[in-house]
């Protein structure tokens, strides 16, 4: 008899990634039950990450050495509050998105390949979780490629509804591969200089080098990693792949990817900038603060203005996502406790809000067949719950008080003020104004226009679509009203990343 309890407690970090991998492989063999199988797997993964999170929250962190090789040689998983939190977010969203996927996938993907779809879906989740949990720089690259490759394929699966999914996917593939190659190159430069691949060890080696900031190899490694990561997290102006990819992907894919993929990209940036290079190198010796802040601020404004011009709701939200990445990046680039905490909180909050909104739009597409502004008209009457979710999400994007978005802005603006940058604080809030304008386009269409075409006959979406949507939106509101969990965790994680320890 195998003692499962012990198996799980001892191998918790490994299981978080291995379980979805096994699940993804077996999903091809379970035939018609692929969805059920995926739901069970993602649900268990969520439980595992939750256990992991509570364990990490209580203690100093956790490590797992694969093959029992010492961490300096082998591959190590290293979990602190930061990645435990992101893991929780990713697995939670993945679980909800998987539940949501059932009807949406039945609607949009040919039935004969559902098992492969869910297989790839679970592998994407595996990749994202793997990037988040690992403590090995090259392992990041491998899992990055797993997640990217799967996401390219998943996005391209929107081809049956709109062939532009293919071009969007290919563009993402090319830019994403260039980004990943830059990351690979950066890791290579670092490997060359430090002789190790373990992140903590790399950091130690870099710290031991007195002239690290003068070493041109390290500088170039830093620059290329920064560019590669920016591509992956879609930081303005390297975001060009994102809007179309999100717009034309299948609904469930958009919801899952929008809520997790770029977030994991940001997490990678956290790891590379804070853990490997360290606060001092990144923010004291390098001008990363200025570069990132400028990109983020300009991105917030320009993508906001672009979003206003969109006529497709999904694309509008996609542009908004780029702007939100700007917030997240601006937050951690400030490199003060409030800013970093704001960034972390916003990772969660934005995942919940945007995930929920994309799901709601997916429900619209399910009933009406499209997400053009025209299709949204009069939706407030026809699909009240869905429209309500979109509205609540929009309020979150604006940063309306009592929504999660407000909490993010609260910390981000404080971070900006602590960094002495009133201009950035103002930009962040100006971004909210742009959010008012673009999200109000949707709200006006939904509540103050008469339905026409297919919308006029639409009824509320099935509960399998609405409930997951409401769950995410509900989370975003709950954590707007009671933010102690998210903000507290984020503050603690931020303090651990910055010099000076706990506040």
């Amino acid at each position: 008899m195998i003692p499962f309890n012990e198996l799980i407690t001892d191998n918790l970090p490994a299981l978080v990634v291995v379980l979805p991998l096994l699940g993804g492989l077996l999903a091809t063999l379970v035939g018609r039950f692929a969805w059920l199988w995926s739901t069970i797997i993602t649900g268990s993964v969520f439980l595992l990450t939750y256990t992991l999170f509570t364990a990490v929250q209580a203690g100093p962190g956790m490590r797992y050495e694969f093959g029992n090789w010492p961490y300096l040689w082998g591959i190590e998983y290293r979990i602190d509050l930061l990645n435990a939190f992101i893991l929780l977010v990713v697995s939670g969203i993945a679980f909800i998105a998987t539940i949501y996927a059932k009807l949406s996938v039945e609607d949009e993907i040919p039935a004969d390949r559902h098992n492969f779809f869910y297989s790839v879906w679970l592998l994407a989740i595996t990749g994202l979780l793997g990037i988040t949990i690992t403590g090995d720089a090259f392992n990041v690259y491998v899992l990055l490629e797993i997640s990217s490759l799967t996401i390219y394929a998943l996005i391209a699966m929107g081809k049956d509804r709109d062939p532009r999914a293919l071009t969007a996917s290919l563009r993402y593939l090319i830019l994403g591969s260039v980004g990943a190659s830059f990351i690979l190159l950066g890791i290579g430069y670092l490997l060359m200089v430090t002789g190790t691949l373990n992140m903590a060890d790399m950091h130690a080696q870099l710290m031991a080098m007195p002239e690290a900031t003068q070493n041109r190899t390290i500088l170039v490694a830093f620059a290329f990693l920064l560019v590669g990561l920016s591509l992956k997290m879609a930081l303005f102006p390297l975001h060009t792949w994102l809007p179309k990819a999100y717009t034309y992907a299948p609904s469930a894919v958009t919801a899952m990817v929008a809520a997790t993929a770029t977030k994991v990209g940001v997490y990678m940036a956290f790891r590379f900038l804070f853990t490997i290079f360290g606060y001092k190198f990144t923010f004291v010796d390098m001008p990363s603060y200025h570069i990132l802040i400028i990109c983020a601020a300009v991105g917030i404004i320009i993508t906001g203005l672009t979003a206003i011009r969109q006529t497709n709701a999904k694309k509008l939200l996609a542009y908004s996502s780029v702007g939100q990445i700007g917030y997240i990046v601006a937050g951690f680039a400030l490199a003060n406790p409030q800013g970093v905490a704001g960034s972390l909180v916003h990772i969660f909050n934005h995942a919940a809000m945007k995930g929920g909104m994309f799901m709601a739009l997916g429900a619209v597409a399910y009933r009406v067949g499209g997400t053009n502004m025209k299709d949204l008209r009069g939706l407030g009457k026809r699909m009240p719950l869905t429209a309500g979710c979109i509205t609540a999400g929009a309020l979150g994007l604006i940063g309306f008080p009592m929504t999660a978005g407000f909490i993010s802005k609260w910390y981000l603006v404080q971070g900006a003020l602590a960094g002495g940058s009133w201009l950035l604080a103002f930009t962040i809030l100006f971004g909210s104004l742009l959010a008012v304008i673009y999200s109000w386009k949707m709200i006006e269409a939904m509540y103050f226009r008469e339905p026409e075409g297919k919308t006029a006959e639409a009824t509320e979406a099935p509960y399998m679509l609405v409930l997951p949507t409401m769950a995410l939106i509900g989370l975003s509101i709950y954590f707007g009203i009671n933010a102690e969990f998210t903000a507290g965790t984020a503050l603690k994680a931020a303090a651990a990343l910055l010099p000076g320890g706990v506040q």
């Binding site: 309020l395 604006i398 940063g399 309306f400 008080p401 009592m402 909490i407 802005k409 609260w410 603006v413 404080q414 003020l417 602590a418 604080a425 103002f426 809030l429 100006f430 909210s432 104004l433 008012v436 304008i437 109000w440 006006e444 509540y447 103050f448 226009r449 707007g480 009203i481 009671n482 933010a483 102690e484 903000a487």
Partner: protein, 513 residues
């Protein structure tokens, strides 16, 4: 002493918040039966009035309020803020009764009854669509107003302020025509824009600098000013953020939302311009000046003086614009812009007398302006006329309406025996006391301008013959007339019995350090 179980369970300010919210639910449930729905509206309005009066008179919670000398600022078990939700450590949604808020709550709850009555007449008379949505939003807006009135800290005020913008938005866009939707966009854009762009920034900066957002006499900045962590220019910047962030106070040049919102049905305009929105603005301005910045801090750093001039300019410019408006509601709107700046200017003089004037004017203008709007709506309902040039001789057909209108006009100008006189009296006294000659000049000029743009309307209505092609019409439906007359009577009554407002205003003064 009312001994209801529920009153022991729910703190009174929260009750004031909950009643309209529950009312909104009820209205929603009863949406299919118009009579029941409107009955629910009225019932809620009366209950709310009862609760607010109860809070004022101390019937509901004697230990909390009633004793005249009660020092409600000293934190004791009965005067501590009621925390509804704590979002983050220190950032909480909490309620607390204090005199200034009491003034606002009293006005709002009183006028809501009349406004509900009026709405019923108006909405039925004009056969508007989406009436259920209208009443729900109305009730929710009042709930937000109660929240604003009883906010114990700046954060709560901000939250309810935003909720008010949000709940009144569907009211402004009510008609759903492209013009209405566009105007509503301006309305929301400016209000949310200023509040998120400036007010929120100021709010977060305040929290960042002081770590405290609680309203208290003397404000939150004394400590940081004393130890030098906050310099006068930054305080000035913060003050600027707050004053322009509170867009509902319609300080020029961010007043544009107010005329834009005129597309709304008249009860909404009345609500916006007399009860809820603009008063929320000036109330917030006064509250921020008194309880967040503290008069002492502002005086010592001289960071508030510019506001007098901006507000003075607003008064004069808005009055001049009003002169040239032919649309009655637009003229009223610009009049509101100028009258609001009276309150701002009063508050910005920072003297006790002027603060009393501000509190008084909140009340006086509320009654006067709502009368005017009611009258305008009454004319629209009965005669379908919007423009002043069409009003020739209308006083003969609608004597009650136009009589009330005249009283409202007099109050706006500040002629006794109307409430406007009292507030203007205190305002002049305050200006005299502080020695701002500019304010005196402004008051004189604007009184003249007020007369110049209001009296011709009265003249037209009563002394010009009606045009020949006019179709015959009588008074508006009775609920409208009753409401109009009631508010007009209120305006006059406030002149003779200003005790409630004055008493509260005096208490504000006493509460100051």
């Amino acid at each position: 002493m009312i001994q209801l179980e529920i009153l022991d369970q729910v703190p009174p300010p929260l009750l004031a918040l909950l009643i309209p919210t529950i009312g909104a639910f009820l209205i929603g449930l009863l949406g299919r039966w118009p009579n029941l729905r409107e009955g629910a509206t009225l019932l809620t309005a009366f209950t709310l009035f009862g609760v607010v009066t109860g809070i004022y008179t101390g019937i509901i919670d004697p230990g909390y309020w009633s004793a005249p000398a009660a020092d409600f600022w000293t934190p004791t078990a009965s005067t501590a803020p009621i925390v509804l939700v704590e979002m983050l450590p220190g950032i909480e949604l909490s309620l607390k009764v204090e005199p200034l808020g009491m003034v606002y709550a009293m006005i709002a709850s009183t006028l809501w009854i009349l406004n509900s009555l009026y709405s019923i007449g108006y909405m039925r008379g004009n056969k508007e669509k989406h009436q259920t949505r209208f009443y729900i939003c109305f009730a929710l807006a009042i709930a937000s107003v109660m929240g604003i009135a009883f906010s114990a800290n700046m954060f709560s005020l901000f939250v309810f302020y935003e909720l008010l913008s949000l709940t009144t938005y569907p009211l402004v866009a009510h008609k759903g025509t492209p013009h209405a939707v566009r105007s509503a966009r301006t309305y929301l854009g400016l209000l949310v824009g200023t509040s998120v762009g400036l007010l929120l920034l100021g709010l977060i900066a305040t929290w960042f600098i002081t770590g405290d957002l609680t309203f208290k006499p003397g404000g939150v900045f004394t400590q940081v000013l004393a130890d030098g962590t906050l310099t006068a220019p930054v305080l000035g910047l913060l003050f600027f953020l707050y004053m322009y962030g509170i867009g509902k106070a319609a300080l020029m040049p961010i007043h544009r939302w107010l005329p834009a919102a005129m597309v709304a049905p008249t009860p909404v305009s009345a609500l916006l311009h007399a009860v809820a929105v603009v008063k929320a603005g000036v109330f917030s301005v006064v509250k921020v000046i008194i309880y967040l910045f503290g008069t002492a801090s502002l005086v010592s750093t001289a960071s508030g003086e510019w506001l007098i001039y901006v507000a003075g300019a607003s008064i004069l410019i808005a009055s001049c614009i009003a002169l040239f408006q032919d649309n009655l509601k637009r003229r009223l709107a610009y009049s509101t812009v100028s009258q609001l700046s009276y309150i701002t200017i009063a508050a910005s003089m920072l003297s006790p007398m002027a603060l009393m004037a501000a509190a008084m004017h909140i009340a006086a203008h509320a009654f006067g302006k709502i009368t005017l709007f009611f009258a305008a709506g009454s004319i629209y309902t009965a005669a379908h006329k919007k423009n002043i040039s069409e009003l020739d001789g209308i006083g003969r057909r609608m004597p009650f309406t136009m009589g009330a209108f005249t009283i409202g006009t007099l109050s706006m100008i500040g002629v006794p025996p109307t409430a406007g006189f009292i507030s203007k009296w205190y305002l002049v006294s305050g200006a005299w006391e502080t020695g701002y000659d500019f304010v005196l000049v402004v008051i004189v000029c604007s009184t003249l301008l007020n007369a110049a743009y209001f009296l011709p309307i009265v003249y037209r209505a009563f002394f010009k013959p009606p045009p020949d092609d006019d179709h015959p019409h009588g008074e508006a439906p009775w609920p409208i007339v009753v409401a109009v007359c009631a508010t007009a009577a209120g305006t006059v009554a406030m002149f003779f019995y200003p005790d409630v407002a004055l008493e509260l205003a005096l208490q504000i003064q006493r509460g100051l350090p």
